[in-house]
Symmetry: C2
Subunit: 757 residues, 2 copies
């Protein structure tokens, strides 16, 4: 017999426990904002339920299930929980939200009015009809939180190498997880005590004549009144072989329809790439007994997860009794007792519980594990003071308020907090906004998202067998490599466009600051633009609508040379600047960009007007917002000076005061969608120019003196720049005008099958 | 009547004359190294003659024609002349070269042995048969240099705007070029005097009974004994209309087969995108009367071109006589006289000539043109001292040596000088070597090459209607944009390869130097590599085959952080490093790379051995040579120290002393082609890994302990890096082993039709 506590003490990798592979499945009923079960279908914005990896429906059409990917840190898990909840909240009809309890809201008096999930695969519908018939629709409306747990490979392999009894790694893992499973089933009452949170059923959950708890309890869901198999379904956990043959025998007898109907608190799981029916080993465990924590936005807290990880390690560490099935049977009984205790009364297993926590503390010391002090202390506190348990806190709340009102209030608050900054994707707010929005859309549509490198804004997207990598939300396999290399070089871009007959500003290229400085006389009397050959965001660009003075010219040249070793001096073509976003030869959005400005109200100074404009949540810094805060730096002050103004001037009512000449959003400019308010001939030009450059996803900037007059000559427009890494978010959330979800266009370009699903 | 001298004086753009659009066509006979007409066909390495824009055959199979693209500076013209000559010399059979004279070498006694050009289009063959019959094959063996000349558009348009007589720009240009043409035909004797260089015919050029010059002359080619139309072919230059109708009438009468048979010293040309037969305007002139200058490697000097540009301007400037055709007729007569004068006697038009030069000087003063002093002075000198003319210099040479020996010696010298550094492409030696080699191959195969940006190594290639842009000789439209973005990120690359089951070094990523420095204990006792996440050429990489000391570790971490903000510490996999070059899923080359080293001879010190090794022309700096000079810097000296050596140690015979740990060519490593000496399973791995990353042109680096033992496990190899911008030249010119022309593979990948031409 393997003594796992000894093995654990011998391996230094045990601290890797904090990198266990974990995932969460959280079920929730969709309800209206006043807490009534939703009458609508699962939102169609989630695309096909045939494959959606993140957002599914469980038993009922209203029962939404959020499934995180498997990750290896608690923080990553919560990033995903945040993101998935965000997508769900933003995608629900405006009058719906998620019910924050395991117990469902009031159910229809007639059970048939509970609509089964309308799944596309008829096999799945049949299964739900069978469940409805076998257990009743009401019982199936309960929601839980499933926790998938796998020890890190490095730890399992280290343990395996420490022993020589089992010669095969797969066998070793099976033995290890079976021990954890049996111990968990024995000790799971601790979890029910600490996290149990289903004290009361709402209307029509129990039928009139049905047996039900006669008082408030800790966890209806984890008690005999919860959602469980018939008494006659007995399955042994002695060995995987017996476990499997028991289940098979239950199926043969007609007690179970298939394996997944076995509602154990622990399910033995094999990695999904192995066909289910051939199960020969255990790769991870699925724990199914955790109630939804109503006090947490995502149904569970970080500390709960940390405690669960340590608890799982303890299940491996602590000895079990010889007869495993008896050991489990005792556990089942204890658990039912604890579940049916009053949530405000201490459990009768309190001493036992405190002993377990102490043993866990000892284990952390012996294994040199840090970072668990807080959760162990909390658990101890909860054992000493029952009002600190989740069930206790909830029941205290129920003294003042009805459970349905409490749940509705919590649901509303969760919804409000989640949707606070609508353009952000919670959990990933450190990423560039374009990437956040693209991730949102991918998650919504059921495209699997894998973070390849967060700092690099590099995502892996997968739909079926198709894999696509995307950087910055717009750089994809659809563009050929040479295109950005050409576009990085403004001279090359211009040469190619000119050759193809497009109008671009005529210009001179300088590779030497002295030559450029000396060339002033060539540009006297001309409106010009001075810009670095390769630079973004308008950095180092100077615009002279009237010919610059020698000093201004020299300063602008020097500024441009700080950005790039090649500088262009181009003739200036006057007019407003438009960004055309072209994806796969189609115009997806046209944005008028106006340089940073304020509009006078006759009262406030420029400085104050800027502060007021900057208050908008749409404005921020560093590409994390759709618009940028207006600065009052050197450039802006010089611009004011050129208009004989200062930051303290008070512009008259309605007068627009410009603070920049360049219209980049990143320097505080305004974005106004004009996709439907521009003559189509400009769209044709933009598409043709992008085609000529060979680009597939491209933002191309045109100056157009009058966008409503069709293109007639070279004076109608001038192409000033093409961008291979165009911002997406400014189209999704413009300052004014229609929102254009161009990130969805990118996804549909990458995965054309999305439009046919 | 327009007074062009006045218009010229009124326009400031006249200095643009030095940016005239110019091109050269240079014909040459292919001869053996002892100066005999080549017996071979036009080399098949030049691909198809159906479309080759640069290297053609003229009348005879041996008569090679080099055609430059149209450029707008003399320097660019000579870059192209250099490159084209380079390609021709390197492509000729090893016992052939170019004959440096206009007059052909000794011809076969039987004229039928002169092989007509074996052109693929039968129409072209028929035309040559007609010429052979009409003029005789011998006459057609003469070679010349055609100079295409177009005034810069900015100048022509400025002149056009200065007048109001002609209302149409095309008409104006026609008028302008007709004036230049008539004056040129009148004054071309000056060119014959200065540049005439065909004094003597070799054996069998003239038939026995044929009329021929009885003495040495200035230019047989430009005289009545040269290559010209029958007397009855008279074409007026009074207007374009009359010119065209005259030619048409000559064709009708059977005196000409088609327009191109009209051998005028000036041909009126229209831009090629307009169908020839519809000629309605003149866009440029083709001057056909310049003899090959035997003293110049490319058949003409820069000063000759500069003089020609100024002379053309003078032709526009100076008045002409009323009756244009009489004016031309006088010119023809004078030219014939000058051509038939003794090349060592002053011309009888000397006074006139000096007057013309003086008028040209005056013109430059009146137009404020600089930079022509030297060529005007030279021409004046040549008029004063006939021995300074090209014909004079040549004839002086003929006093001591036979013309054929002189020409052979010159030919040999030109060949030797051109082929001095075989891997370079003359004219473009400032570009990266990979680009030079790719350009060479493109030119050789007849792909049109356009320099989009020289500093950026950005080329435009065109074959038929297909356009491809290429950067650094290897970045093309064939790779998708996301691939280099992934490969730039070493962590992302590794994640993708690991997921697909490839063996890569296990590693830890640090984004913070302090964390990395503090992590030393994690790596104690392990062989490790420390490297920046994104960096090239092995910069900032430290290899510790044995565990580093704390100080070494810290220094290496700091060094890596200077290159990139993310640093990887990876386990070190020992063994030699191989670069696999994969193009379109096929292995094109495998290179063993050995770190910089010297092999002892028992006499020389390390320092001396390095100096000797560095003498190889293959070694240089800055990617302009296939190998890099070995340095003796800090890294190398530390490496010596670790072996208890200094730069002054004398290694024993045959002992290899390493100076670096990293094997990059750019730090002095040796490259050894082993494409045919490696087990195919490694090639399969490399191709599979590149496919997995989605790359089409990729250099992937594997460490392989024993390349002859097939892949059997993860210990057989480790993939350490994938490069989206792999050097090409090191495969083309390895230190040892077979040369692999991988640049041709790139071209064939871009233009698959090349292999079927």
């Amino acid at each position: 017999m393997i003594i796992f506590s000894e093995l654990l003490q011998q391996t230094p990798s045990v601290s890797a426990i904090s990198h266990s592979r974990i995932g969460v499945e959280r079920e929730s009923q969709r309800v209206t904002l006043d807490g009534k079960l939703a009458g609508t279908d699962h939102p169609i914005v989630f695309g096909s339920r045939r494959f959606h990896p993140y957002i599914k429906t469980d038993f009922a059409e209203t029962q939404l299930e959020i499934v995180t990917p498997v990750v290896d840190t608690v923080n990553d898990l919560f990033h995903w929980l945040a993101a998935l909840h965000d997508v769900v909240y933003q995608s629900l009809p405006t009058n719906e939200m998620l019910w924050p309890l395991s117990m469902p809201p009031a159910l229809p008096s007639c059970e048939d009015q509970i609509s089964l999930a309308k799944l596309p695969d008829f096999k799945d519908v049949l299964y739900r009809r069978y469940l409805a018939k076998t257990y009743g629709r009401r019982k199936q409306m309960i929601s839980g939180l499933h926790f998938n747990f796998e020890l890190p490979a490095v730890l399992v392999e280290a343990l395996y190498r420490q022993q020589c009894e089992i010669k095969d790694l797969a066998c070793f893992k099976t033995t290890l997880y079976l021990k954890i499973a049996r111990n968990y089933l024995h000790y799971r009452w601790v979890i029910t005590y600490l996290f149990g949170a289903s004290p009361v059923a709402e209307r029509n959950y129990f039928k009139h004549h049905e047996e039900k708890p006669q008082k408030i309890v800790r966890s209806i869901r984890n008690s005999e009144f919860g959602y469980r198999n018939k008494e006659n379904v007995q399955v042994s956990f002695e060995s995987l072989k017996i476990y499997l043959s028991d289940i098979e025998s239950q199926i043969r007898k007609g007690n179970l329809l298939e394996e997944k109907e076995f509602y154990s608190s622990v399910r033995l799981r094999e990695s999904q790439n192995i066909v289910r029916c051939k199960q020969t080993k255990i790769d991870y465990l699925e724990l199914r007994n955790i109630d939804i924590n109503p006090f947490e936005r995502y149904g569970i807290s970080k500390n709960q997860i940390v405690f669960m990880e340590l608890f799982m390690l303890f299940m491996l560490w602590t000895d079990e009794k010889k007869n495993g099935d008896d050991w489990i049977a005792t556990g089942n009984q204890t658990n039912n007792e604890v579940a049916l205790e009053s949530p405000l009364a201490p459990t009768c297993y309190r001493t036992n519980g405190l002993k377990i926590i102490n043993l866990m503390k000892k284990m952390t010391k012996q294994l040199n594990l840090n970072g668990y002090e807080e959760v162990l202390q909390q658990s101890q506190d909860m054992l000493i003071d029952v009002t600190k348990t989740i069930g206790g806190r909830m029941t205290k709340g129920l003294m003042a308020t009805k459970q349905s009102d409490l749940a509705t209030a919590i649901g509303l608050k969760n919804r409000r907090v989640t949707m606070q900054v609508p353009y952000q994707l919670n959990g990933f707010v450190n990423m560039e906004l374009s990437t956040q929005i693209l991730m949102f859309d991918a998650i919504q549509k059921g495209i699997m998202v894998d973070m390849v490198d967060e700092n690099d804004q590099l995502l892996k997207l997968q739909l079926g067998h198709q894999i696509e990598y995307v950087k910055n939300g717009n750089m994809t396999s659809r563009d050929s490599y040479i295109v950005p290399l050409i576009m990085k070089n403004k001279t090359a871009t211009k040469r190619i466009l000119v050759t193809a007959g497009f109008n671009v500003p005529i210009g001179v290229e300088f590779v030497n600051a002295d030559t450029a400085l000396a060339a002033y006389s060539r540009f006297v009397g001309e409106p010009i633009v001075i810009k670095p050959q390769s630079a973004n965001y308008g950095r180092g660009v100077s615009v002279f609508q009237f010919s610059p003075s020698l000093a201004d010219y020299q300063q602008a040249i020097r500024r441009a040379f700080t950005e790039c070793s090649t500088v262009l001096v181009e003739n200036f073509f006057a007019g407003p600047e438009y960004r055309f976003l072209v994806i796969n030869d189609k115009i997806k959005a046209v944005l008028l960009r106006i340089p940073a400005n304020v509009i006078g109200d006759g009262h406030h100074t420029v400085k104050q007007l800027v502060a007021i404009k900057n208050k908008s949540t749409l404005r921020g810094l560093n590409d994390r917002t759709p618009l940028t805060k207006i600065s009052l730096g050197v450039v802006e002050q010089a611009m004011l000076k050129s208009q004989s103004l200062t930051v303290d001037s008070i512009p008259v009512v309605g007068k627009r005061t410009y603070l920049r000449k360049n219209s980049n959003i990143s320097s505080g400019g305004d974005s106004i969608d004009v996709t439907d308010q521009i003559d189509f001939t400009y769209k044709e030009k933009a598409v043709a120019a992008v085609k000529c450059l060979g680009a597939k996803i491209c933002g191309i900037d045109l100056i157009i003196p009058d966008r409503l007059v069709p293109v007639s000559s070279h004076e109608s427009y001038s192409i000033i720049e093409a961008n291979y890494n165009p911002m997406m978010d400014m189209h999704c959330y413009p300052y004014k005008g229609k929102k254009r979800r161009v990130t969805v266009d990118v996804l549909e370009f990458l995965f054309p099958q999305l439009t046919n699903l």
